[in-house]
């Protein structure tokens, strides 16, 4: 599941409240049947929290840190050593377990923080912006790790990167200014966002016939040149009436007109569009 919202929407605040770091002013938070205000210890035991900005004790080594986290989470002494080993293995920290955390790169720090959250076998993992500040390779690694973890734990993730959300999550909650604007699966949200039936096309048009195409093909509502490229190709966005799929017609007709198609794409609404639509709707 994912928490998604613009900066300052209240993602981190919500997470801080669920984990018991700050108290809520009104309402109640129930985690796994327990109220956080009444049974904080029980709730906190269920949750593994990776806070924003990866706070770590930089003077400790990786292993010391994970062991410390296991201790404060009251992992049974007999199995503690094994469990710490297992988590270090799982998060790929075996090679650096004896290094001081301050000497590690950002990506590794992120993993250490995640290892800290994972220890103690929490039912719910709460990750606040887990991929911020990483390079693309590290991002892929962390995402794969999260996907892997999603099989065993309930993962609640906060993010403002959309591609991440659509890749990892099964359910999305979009919040804006502290209010929920949508709860749904990423696919459904994408579907809802499709508003226009539109085709994007890149063509080479030496005789400038594209302007006349609107009259020749039925069903075109609007045609617009969006960009002229350096290699003399032009990009157009063509809007169709109703539900007509223009691609086949365009392909045949443009060939007759001696216009070469370089690229053709049907507009696909992304989560981004869904997001923009919801947020704008909320602001109005």
């Amino acid at each position: 599941m994912d928490y998604y919202g613009p900066n300052g929407a209240g993602k981190s605040t919500t997470m801080n409240m669920i984990t018991g770091y700050i108290e809520s002013t009104t309402g109640e938070i129930i985690v796994d049947g327990y109220d956080i205000d009444r049974k904080p210890k029980k709730v906190k035991k269920q949750i593994g929290y990776m806070p924003e900005g990866v706070p770590l004790y930089t003077d400790l080594t990786v292993k010391e840190f994970v062991t410390y986290m296991a201790e404060i989470k009251k992992v049974d002494r007999k199995t503690r050593k094994e469990k710490v080993e297992k988590i270090i293995e799982q998060t790929g920290l075996k090679d650096v377990e004896k290094k001081l955390i301050k000497k590690l790169s950002r990506g590794y720090k992120q993993r250490v923080s995640m290892a800290g959250a994972l220890v103690g076998e929490p039912k719910i993992l709460i990750l606040d912006e887990p991929t911020v500040g990483l390079d693309p390779k590290q991002i892929t690694e962390i995402r794969n790790l999260i996907k892997e973890l999603g099989k065993e734990h309930t993962v609640i993730l906060s993010s403002h990167i959309l591609s991440e959300v659509s890749q990892i999550c099964n359910r999305v909650i979009i919040i804006n200014k502290g209010k929920i604007v949508a709860i749904d699966t990423p696919e459904n949200l994408e579907k809802k966002a499709v508003s226009k039936n539109c085709v994007y096309i890149t063509v080479e048009d030496p005789e400038n016939k594209m302007d006349t195409i609107k009259e020749k093909i039925k069903g075109i509502k609007n045609i617009e040149c969006t960009k002229t490229n350096e290699d003399k190709t032009k990009e157009y966005s063509i809007e169709a009436e109703g539900d007509i799929d223009l691609r086949k017609i365009l392909f045949n007709e443009l060939a007759k007109e001696n216009i070469t198609i370089f690229e053709m794409k049907k507009a696909d609404a992304t989560l981004e569009d869904a997001f923009m639509k919801l947020i704008e709707g909320g602001n109005k």
Partner: protein, 228 residues
């Protein structure tokens, strides 16, 4: 709670803080030792705890020990790890307090070597030495508790240190300005211990003050949850 103590001690001794605390205190202690024993020919181990160089370095060393306890956690955000763990705030505060106290006790144990030296050359009194050690530990304990309170109200370590140094110096020079305050002075209480008297009233004062500071620290931490 043991986990917090262990981690704090690790941080004291993985960074220079622990060594600086013990080292500088022992240097000041040695200077006092030189003046009292060699300069005046006194066979007094206990008096050194009350000497000006020792008290003077303590004014700066105790804040060094306590200034980072909560400020640093808050600044780095590691406070979130602690407060979202199943540990109660009371245990976190006590853990940090006990860790700082252990560093003090280690220092006190190191000073015993001066007692050994005196034993070799003369006949120092064991009973007053024990009273002085107890007094010293109680005295430092009170200031550690206050230092932690100072650290819990700010995320800036320097401010935390300045507050606790100021408090130390004020309580140090206070009796010189008004003789009515004599009986409230921690330094005067320490003096009584170093002269061999373990006064119940003084002991209770130290312990009450320590407990009050720890309770206030716990309250500050608890309150911060709802103010953020």
């Amino acid at each position: 709670m043991w986990a917090v103590i262990k981690k704090e001690l690790k941080q004291y001794f993985c960074t220079p803080i622990g060594y600086v605390f013990i080292g500088i205190f022992l240097i000041a202690f040695s200077v006092s030792f030189y003046f009292t024993v060699i300069g005046y020919g006194n066979v007094n181990y206990e008096y050194i705890f009350y000497s000006t160089p020792t008290i003077f370095v303590l004014a700066f060393l105790i804040p060094l020990l306590t200034m980072r306890s909560f400020s640093e956690e808050r600044k780095n955000g590691t406070e979130q790890l602690l407060l979202t763990s199943p540990l109660s705030i009371t245990k976190i505060v006590l853990g940090k307090f006990i860790a700082a106290l252990i560093v003090t006790i280690i220092t006190a144990i190191f000073t015993l070597m001066y007692f050994g030296i005196l034993c070799y050359f003369g006949m120092p009194q064991i009973s007053t030495a024990i009273a002085a050690l107890i007094g010293f530990i109680l005295f430092v304990m009170a200031y550690i508790a206050f230092g932690m309170l100072a650290s819990s109200i700010t995320e800036n370590q320097i401010i935390a240190a300045v507050i606790s140094i100021a408090f130390f110096i004020i309580t140090w020079v206070m009796p010189n300005f008004n003789s009515n305050l004599q009986s409230f002075s921690f330094i005067n209480m320490l003096y009584k211990y170093t002269s061999g008297q373990i006064d119940i009233a003084d002991t209770v004062t130290f312990i009450t003050f320590t407990i009050a500071c720890i309770l206030l620290t716990i309250i500050v931490m608890q309150r911060r949850k709802s103010i953020k």
